[in-house]
């Protein structure tokens, strides 16, 4: 079969049958004999000193096997890059939900009962609940010992920050920004805010840890097992080789599963009891104590010339990182997608200042395109406002300013990626932008661009005598279709039926793997799969796979192992066009239809791709209209999914996706990443459509009916 014919055919998901029949075993389902259940005592205060912890009554409860407090793990801190989050707090608690003690018991009910019997005496300290307060010169320093925190190796030391309550900070520029502003015909300035939102995977975090001889066995929902192994080794002071991290089936991620917090104390509980110990996070705790998307406050200032062409731009962005920076794997401890505002446009001179800030709120983490939805909401709302001021249509302003190949972008780097003007034009045509508007209806646009991930991975192939090929990889599949993608690339390259290609995920006993994240798997693991398949092809020496298999003797296999580095710069892009109706009496926004014009290069999993694009759209719709993980006095107000409103299928409008792709991506067969491409642009397109429909401009997400109602009334 022609290899590209295979890739054009809808895929059969490797994990599809097990998931749809209920046979799939998630971490919480795994049967580990003798496993105890863990529960945690958590701080009710946003900031307090721990005066005493009395575990006496908990210890004597029947069925309780171990009770640990911060004193037992003093000094141990966890994190993906900066290890600043105590395994259990021993002197101070820094947010509501911070853990001070852990119990292992025969059942979850007993463990939770024991937690209620733990008496902790706190002395409350003033809480920093606001980023501006935290950055005042005289603000209390939340991490006075930050200099002693471990910064996981990889790419050097933790960059210096101007204020001790900064987690990360960057100020970067290109061009002569001040001179460019001085020559601008018009200068516009706007501010936007976005709330915390939650990744909301169906499956909450879960983990089981047990000791097996010298080994520490971990089964975790973490989507990057090698990284978790390294974090545990650093925190617990164990040799990496002693820790083996494996996955069960993972039930959704969206960034949440990059951070693990329970595995560390589970190790101590397993050691104390001699039993495997399991923790399954209650969904209320997922919502209130894990690592949601950072809330933001972004101020943008842009100068344009007389024709509406951008000449100068600056941004000041603050992201509320909460009590710990542990959820961010990035070296600068920023949500990097939030730094470069006005991405995708020609920006000859720009200055960006962005910071993540320590506060006494729930710690922020990574979520589908970290930082980018905040950035794109601000940038694309700002552009619409500028267009209106200039008397241009929002579309025309964008056409005049999109980056063409080689143009300087907002980072100063030349543009590498799709033809953005063509995507915008196509989206405009499909939605009927030129048709006369009905009263109360409006159309909004936004442009989203997303880098294609880079990095390296190793994939091994083994051809057996029966003609089957086993693929071995360290990467998991958290629902994104990663294993199916690898299978199809191998099958297409070797010209075999995908059903003859089995994908086996290895634990951390196999070759190192960066895991899922950063729009990485298609270019990196897909690239590695292609390279490995090509290496196997070489070994066949011109024979067919079937002939080569038949030539093998019993037990013999033909093996290759390939490490692949994906280094090329590239972007996927999506132009959004969304039509809404606004009920002026109530402020209610109904999304009537939407068009996505996308360039993701070549599709490898056509059905999965559609799922990623449609799913990304719905994900963005939630952020646009309903999702708000609001805190009040440091406490998350929505402790269940009845109050934290995700869109349902009934809320999804007709969606048309148009592909303007020509297989020119840098990934295997010209593919690009798609999982984080669509969601960032949706909120801005909705807010812009609401403005077009009603005149109401909402500068804060989500665009709720009440906010629109207030904007229309000027209150």
């Amino acid at each position: 079969m022609n290899r590209l014919d295979l890739l054009d055919r809808p895929e059969r998901r490797i994990d599809g049958e097990a998931k749809t029949t209920g046979a799939a075993k998630y971490t919480a389902d795994l049967d580990v004999p003798g496993a105890l259940q863990a529960a945690f005592a958590r701080s009710p205060y946003p900031h307090a000193r721990i005066a005493s912890v009395d575990t006496g009554r908990a210890r004597v409860l029947a069925g309780v096997r171990a009770v640990l407090t911060g004193a037992d793990v003093r000094g141990e801190r966890l994190g993906r890059r900066l290890q600043d989050w105590p395994v259990l707090c021993w002197d101070r608690v820094l947010f509501i939900g911070d853990r001070v003690a852990a119990v292992a018991a025969d059942s979850r009910e007993i463990a939770e009962e024991a937690v209620r019997l733990i008496a902790v005496e706190y002395e409350e300290l003033p809480a920093l609940l606001d980023m501006e307060d935290a950055l005042r010169a005289d603000a209390p320093v939340l991490h006075p010992d930050a200099a002693t925190y471990r910064f996981l190796e990889g790419r050097g030391e933790r960059p210096a920050v101007p204020h001790p309550n900064h987690q990360g900070h960057v100020a970067e520029s290109h061009g002569d920004v001040d001179a460019a502003f001085a020559h601008a015909a018009w200068i516009f300035e706007h501010e936007f805010t976005t709330p915390r939102i939650h990744q909301a995977p169906l499956e909450p975090r879960a983990a089981i840890v047990w000791l097996e001889g010298d080994r520490v066995r971990v089964v975790s929902t973490n989507k990057a097992p090698f990284n978790l192994r390294d974090q545990m080794a650093a925190t617990l002071g164990l040799a990496r080789e002693r820790i083996v991290v494996d996955n069960g089936t993972i039930g959704g991620d969206f960034g949440a599963k990059g951070l693990s917090t329970d595995e560390f104390v589970l190790y101590h509980l397993a050691k104390a009891t001699g039993h495997p110990v399991r923790a399954v996070t209650r969904y209320a705790d997922e919502l209130t104590t894990t690592n949601p998307r950072h809330s933001s406050r972004i101020r943008l200032r842009t100068g344009v010339d007389a024709d509406g062409r951008i000449v100068a731009h600056e941004s000041h962005a603050l992201f509320d990182g909460g009590a710990y920076a542990a959820g961010k794997p990035t070296v600068r401890l920023l949500v990097e997608g939030g730094v470069s505002t006005l991405e995708g446009y020609r920006v000859p001179a720009a200055r960006h200042e962005a910071a993540t800030v320590y506060t006494n709120q729930v710690p922020g983490g990574h979520m589908r395109a970290p930082g980018q939805p905040q950035n794109v909401f601000a940038s694309e709302s700002h552009l619409d406002l500028i267009a209106r001021e200039l008397g241009l249509t929002p579309l025309e302003l964008r056409r005049r300013n999109v980056a063409r190949a080689g143009d300087p972008t907002t980072t100063g780097e030349p543009w590498h990626g799709p033809d953005l003007g063509a995507l915008l034009d196509r989206a405009a045509t499909e939605i009927g932008a030129d048709a006369p508007r009905t009263v109360g209806r409006g159309i909004g646009f936004a442009l989203g661009v997303r880098h294609v991930g880079r990095g390296s991975a190793t994939i091994s192939l083994r051809l057996d005598r029966d003609g089957t090929i086993e693929v071995r990889t360290g990467v998991g599949d958290q629902g994104g279709g990663q294993h199916t993608l690898i299978q199809r690339i191998v099958a297409a390259t070797l010209g075999v039926d995908p059903l003859t290609v089995r994908v086996r995920r290895l634990s951390t006993e196999g070759p190192p793997d960066p895991g899922i994240g950063g729009s990485r798997v298609t270019p990196v693991h897909g690239g590695a799969a292609l390279a490995a398949a090509q290496a196997l092809q070489e070994k066949l020496g011109g024979r067919s796979v079937a002939d080569a298999a038949r030539a093998l003797s019993a037990g013999e296999g033909l093996e290759v192992s390939t490490r692949f580095d994906a280094t090329a710069a590239d972007h996927g892009a999506c132009a959004h066009a969304i039509e809404v109706a606004v009920d002026a009496e109530t402020g209610t926004v109904r999304v009537l239809r939407a068009v996505l014009a996308v360039d993701i290069g070549r599709a490898i999993n056509p059905v999965g791709l559609r799922g990623q694009l449609e799913g990304g759209f719905v994900y963005g719709l939630g952020q646009a209209l309903t999702e708000d993980l609001a805190l009040s006095e440091g406490r998350v107000r929505a402790a269940n999914l009845g109050d934290y409103k995700l869109p349902t299928i009934a809320d999804v409008p007709p969606l048309r996706i148009v592909h303007l792709s020509n297989d020119h991506g840098v990934g295997p067969y010209g593919a690009r990443s798609a999982g984080e491409l669509v969601n960032p642009g949706v909120p801005a397109a909705v807010a812009n459509a609401v403005h077009d429909a009603s005149g109401a401009r909402v500068h804060t997400l989500p665009v709720t009916a009440e906010r629109v109602w207030r904007a229309l009334r000027g209150s």
Binding site: E109, E112, A630, K645, A705
Partner: protein, 283 residues
């Protein structure tokens, strides 16, 4: 979830007798959609649960000489599909169809819904506007409780611990009466209402209003009757001025809670907007 004693009586008398044994430490479960969640979250810990699902007669829906009788164990789905319910008031059928999702509707019951007394629920609002009366039974007593006396406070009813709600009776509507239920869902379509309004009116040959009921949901700690608004409509033509006046009076009758579904100010204003919309539909 913690262990508890679970009893499944076959008849109403058996259920009432079991309940009378230990009314204070017993939780009565119909569809279980609300209380099982609370039990799983360990927020309520009943020692004993009486499941009513085997008591088939309590599922009956049927016309009576005086109107319509709805059995307490009828599910929302059954009520939404019932020709008798639709025949009485199509708005009542559509109210049950507006609750939550299909999985909930086929499990949750009328009696469970009313006894739970969640102020954001839909059916109490329309039933209130239809002059519904709850029929309660204990081992020794039977009594009829008009719905506006059933709801006492948030999640609190006037049912005694040994009483079961067994049915809701609806009197026959005036000839030509028109009814509607409006559920305001500004966020997602599976949500609780931010506010909701049920309106029932009848007019005489001259167009003058002879019967008016306006009930509001999500507008206070219990479903409310907007009585001043109702009175303002009587003997008047239901023109724009009359509707606006009634809407303003309905809004003034509310006492909403500030919560994630909107500020009290917004909910009050929306109660007015949706009252007007409901009245325009039935005028």
């Amino acid at each position: 979830m913690r262990p508890f004693d679970y009893l499944e009586p076959e008849t109403l008398d058996e259920a009432l007798a079991l309940l009378a044994d230990d009314p204070d430490d017993t939780l009565v479960m119909a569809g279980g959609t609300a209380i099982v969640i609370l039990m799983k979250q360990d927020l309520i810990r009943p020692a004993r649960v009486i499941g009513l699902r085997r008591i088939a007669p309590l599922r009956a829906i049927g016309a009576t000489d005086e109107g319509l009788r709805l059995g307490a164990l009828a599910t929302h789905g059954a009520l939404a599909r019932s020709p008798e319910v639709r025949g009485h008031a199509a708005a009542l059928a559509s109210t049950f169809a507006a609750v939550a999702t299909v999985r909930i509707r086929e499990q949750a019951t009328l009696g469970g819904n009313l006894a739970h007394a969640d102020p954001a629920q839909d059916p109490p609002v329309t039933l209130l506007a239809l002059d519904g009366v709850a029929v309660a039974r204990s081992k020794t007593r039977a009594r009829r409780i008009p719905l506006d006396a059933l709801f006492v406070d948030l999640f609190e009813t006037s049912l005694e611990p040994d009483e079961l709600l067994v049915a809701v009776e609806l009197p026959r509507l005036p000839v030509g009466a028109r009814a509607t239920y409006k559920k305001f869902l500004p966020a997602t379509l599976d949500d609780y209402a931010t506010v909701s309004v049920a309106a029932v009116v009848a007019t005489d040959a001259t167009g003058a209003c002879t019967h008016a009921r306006i009930a509001l949901g999500g507008a206070g700690p219990v479903p409310l009757r907007a009585r001043a608004a109702e009175r303002s409509l009587l003997r008047r033509r239901l023109d724009d001025a009359a509707i606006r006046e009634a809407a303003a009076l309905a809004a003034a009758a509310t006492d909403p809670i500030d919560d994630l579904r909107g500020s009290a100010e917004y909910k009050r204003a929306m109660a007015g907007v949706w009252t007007a919309r409901a009245l325009r539909e039935v005028a």
